[in-house]
Symmetry: C2
Subunit: 598 residues, 2 copies
């Protein structure tokens, strides 16, 4: 029996008291997402997640997707089709999409909260509409007016799905090695030929059509990454009147057998002279693809949080019920044969670690997501700039840190269950298997670290990082100013200093030897994550204190928030120290062995 | 394709130059394990592992064990029976067993090296003889002469297997809750009735008989842990002449579905008035069981190392072959389309982390195992005492730290493979699933930490820990004395000081509030592990330096050892800092939330 209860109180706290969305009602879309509406939307999304998606999570894992080689078709697990129908009919696929194409135009930050619940209760399911939204964004940003009119309404409505086709057998991270060919045709379209692998939702039985976004190389294009273009390849061609036309030459060639996310079809996709349409300019496919990828990367970070939350809830339920041993300070359940294991400090250490991650990650995700909204929606140019800066800086950080920790949370929660956690009687072993992919796809986490250090950091002379350090410093000052939180503020200042020092070290060393940047990158990303978490935890501490001072209801909630904050500042944030050491350790030791000597 | 090459050079280095076994030829059994013999034994074990066990690892995972409800029988995967025959015919099951019962009497430390290879290549297989050896030890230590004569020769030869039956549905960690009943019979035997769960190898088709060691409560016994006795319950009763007699009333009731180790049968065992024979005294079953458990715990720690080694080898092979991107310092494979990913510092960071663990853990395991031999075999009372002290102190540390890190290694190596690592085309996802159980069984790792802090630490006034701190200090001094290793010695001194401080903190706080001990225990265990690893790494550094100074052959090996040592001291050991902070953070924050508030 899997437990899940939508974390609605935490969403309210963050939206109402930390991010204070109601003060942003002048930003387009935010007035439509006022307190009551937000509450109602999140409650409905919670019901859908708890009532429709959760019951299919385990059965989906056991059954998996089935491939029929004769028809090249894929059948999703029992119940997925009906659940997808309910999902789209409820309007969930177009929550934050452009109203011009049938979307509801609500803030993206609200969609993040909704998606946390959807992913938590059914990661595999959530990927189908998730990737469609990525395709929507790429076409919305880079497509022609005609392309937008043809594809976006269907994607927004969820009638058609979208997929991302990047990887080929010889190239994952290094997209410059792509071989899929695009031959220009007289009518302006292209003939696409090649094989793509690991295509999530490449084929399924949920939607009437699938819009594949495909990276390919136009004949005669420059070598490497500068010769890659992006194409729209619909499964069924679309007639001028919008109805479905001929079956296009793209077929699923098989499904990947994998460790987890069994209910999501991971497809080999064969392009056999399929008709494709260029999006944007020739050879500029990577730019368009990055629009999809950045959005997808934040979405993957979200997956880490989501799995951690549901793992936590199930571990807590177990720890409250399982009777083993007695509290070291005397029986707490005298009438029973033993105490519930939640009395043991070491069990609480595990639960509190996960809890502190969940609450901090949720705050950081929504804080970042709000900057994403402001980037596009704010009327103030400076705010838009800062929004873009923060989204660029923090997306790789959230992707990597959240998926690492989300997986770790699932493992920790599995540990709380002891032997039960290793069996299939409980859902957590599936959470561990599902969570593992988050660290890998949409750019393995090491790639995120290189993106941060090699690209994001230096943009605009480090403008984003310096603003971020200043913001963190302000929060630390505010904590230090209150005696009860002074130790937290000191710790945050210390962590901020680690990041500053590591940045200085990079500036002084990476130019002379670029391997130093690579050697430092992962720990640098972790330092950034710790500062970011410290920042949002500081803001939560101050907001919770304020609520208590004002005598707000839900006193127990705010008090619990302060307990979790204490755990974060006392036991989690000190881990930044070791990353500070490693971020400056350099490449020499790592590069000393010859490849043959490993 | 799974790769494995027995790490024979590292075994030689450790046995010959670090532990210097040849200086111990006056200890019984050691003269028979001189350099050449050792080499030959390890080479043969390597061949068995590479040639017989490895090819069955993946197929065993896919096929799993099958249960037939009609006959209560279990079929192990294809090839296991034949492999088991080769294993026992080669004499591997009795390598370090008592020659009085057909064993070879070789040092246990040698058997550890053999077992590393056996487990690495087939974890599930290795558990069958592994548990038999646990049963051997319990009977050897606590059984009557008659029991020894009846059961030991068959266990040593591997003709019969042994199993451990502790857990029941209502009790895992808390064995005081055991309900299985033992009713005394007129002939001195007992009728055993009850249900045991999670019994590894409880039923299988490899051996002619199975000797179940079962914890049960004699009618009228005191409540709780003080009323538990240990029984021998053979699957087939044994006639006076040693032949097999009647089928006993113990039956497998089903197999557990689980995340990994699919080729090892995890059984529900139903005792239906089965005939059992008391081992040792009534109500003293826990003592006898601890003999088995301590041995098993060291064996589980070994599993963490073993899986890490094979994961490493496969990740290295992938990283050498997979071409993606270019080195940040310019192409290293100019003729090819891209460089192998082993040129990237962040890939090396992952590989070096795992490598440093493997080499350190192997050294620490064998160092500890040697103390185990000396505990039983040394002619010097002081040495026997110290051997016992170190085995007691370090067994929980190795069990917990090695299995945590072994799992982490498998995850890290999976990360090196990127998307490939998540698919079943490569073996690493299986390693991750298999490795996960190590952190749970034979006492979850949190229990190991409590064993260390609550039991082992205080024994004999902390004698073991003080000797250990002194030994580590000596190694640190020796490092400091050599300018090239001074930084390593300083770091080890610092880590040693962390452990000393944490010990002092425990002495000052845990008495007033025992929850402080629980809150500190896990990080305290990690501090102990870091000091222990620092100690053996220090010894390896000095031994490698000496070998180089002496101009020994295999120069590249010793140089590589120093590179890995550098990684350990520069990038791994600094992690002790955060454990030093947490070990003194206390219980107040952890215990602040009411159970309902989680």
């Amino acid at each position: 029996m899997t437990i899940y209860k939508a974390p609605l109180a935490d969403f309210s706290f963050l939206f109402d008291r930390v991010l204070r969305l109601d003060a942003l009602s002048n930003v387009p879309g935010f007035a439509e997402a006022s307190g009551d509406t937000r509450g109602a939307i999140l409650e409905e999304a919670g019901k859908l997640s708890e009532g429709v998606l959760l019951p299919l999570n385990e059965s989906g894992d056991r059954e998996g997707c089935r491939y029929d080689a004769k028809t090249h078709s894929v059948t999703t697990p029992k119940g997925f089709k009906e659940a997808y129908r309910q999902f789209t009919e409820g309007g969930w696929s177009g929550l934050a999409s452009d109203p011009d194409y049938g979307g509801q135009g609500l803030p993206a930050v609200l969609a993040l909260a909704v998606n946390e619940m959807v992913v938590a209760t059914n990661w595999s399911f959530a990927m189908y509409p998730g990737l469609s939204h990525g395709a929507y964004s790429a076409i919305h940003t880079h497509g022609s007016e005609e392309q937008k009119a043809t594809y976006l309404p269907k994607l927004v409505a969820g009638e058609w799905s979208g997929t991302m086709n990047l990887t080929e057998p010889q190239c994952g991270t290094d997209l410059g090695l792509i071989r899929t060919k695009a031959e220009p045709q007289k009518d302006g379209s292209y003939r696409i030929t090649g094989t793509k692998i690991w295509i999530s939702g490449g084929e399924q039985d949920l939607t009437a059509n699938a819009i594949h976004l495909v990276l390919a190389r136009i004949s005669g294009a420059p070598e490497g990454i500068k010769g890659i273009s992006l194409f729209i390849v619909p499964k069924f061609l679309v007639n001028a009147d919008g109805t479905l036309g001929a079956r296009n030459g793209v077929f699923c060639g098989g499904l990947e057998e994998k460790m987890g996310i069994h209910a999501n079809a991971t497809c080999v996709m064969n392009y056999e002279g399929a008709t494709g349409y260029l999006i944007g300019e020739p050879h500029k496919g990577m730019r368009a693809m990055f629009t999809m990828m950045n959005e997808a990367r934040l979405g993957v970070g979200l997956q880490g949080l989501a799995i951690s939350e549901i793992a936590y809830q199930n571990a807590v339920a177990f720890a409250r019920e399982r009777l083993q041993g007695r509290s070291l300070t005397g029986p707490k359940n005298e009438g029973g044969p033993a105490d519930p294991i939640i009395v043991h400090p070491d069990v609480r250490r595990m639960l509190m670690d996960v809890r502190a991650f969940n609450e901090g990650a949720r705050a950081l995700l929504l804080w970042t997501g709000l900057w994403g909204d402001l980037e596009y929606r704010s009327s103030d140019a400076k705010t838009r700039e800062k929004g873009g800066d923060y989204m660029a800086l923090l997306t790789p950080v959230l992707k990597a840190y959240f998926t690492d920790q989300g997986f770790q949370s699932a493992v920790t929660c599995q540990q709380v269950l002891g032997g039960s956690g290793f069996t299939k009687h409980f859902p957590i072993e599936q959470f561990v298997r599902d969570a593992r992919i988050g660290m890998i796809y949409e750019g393995a986490n090491g790639i995120q670290a290189l993106d941060l250090v090699g690209r994001k950091l230096a943009q605009n002379g480090g403008r984003a990082l310096f603003a971020f350090l200043a913001d963190a410093g302000e929060v630390a000052d505010a904590l230090v100013a209150r005696p009860e939180f002074k130790a937290y503020g000191d710790r945050l200042h210390e962590t901020r200093k680690f990041l500053e020092d590591a940045t200085k070290w990079l500036m002084e060393n990476a130019l002379a030897n670029p391997d130093h940047a690579g050697a430092s990158s992962y720990d640098y990303l972790y330092l950034t994550a710790y500062v970011a978490l410290g920042l949002v935890w500081g803001r939560m501490v101050l907001a919770a204190r304020k609520a208590l001072d004002e005598g707000a209801g839900e006193k127990a909630f705010f008090e619990a928030k302060l307990v979790t904050a204490r755990h974060f500042f006392e036991r989690v944030l000190p881990a930044a120290q070791v990353h500070a050491v490693r971020a400056k350790a350099g490449a020499d030791g790592l590069m000393a062995l010859a490849a043959e000597a490993f």
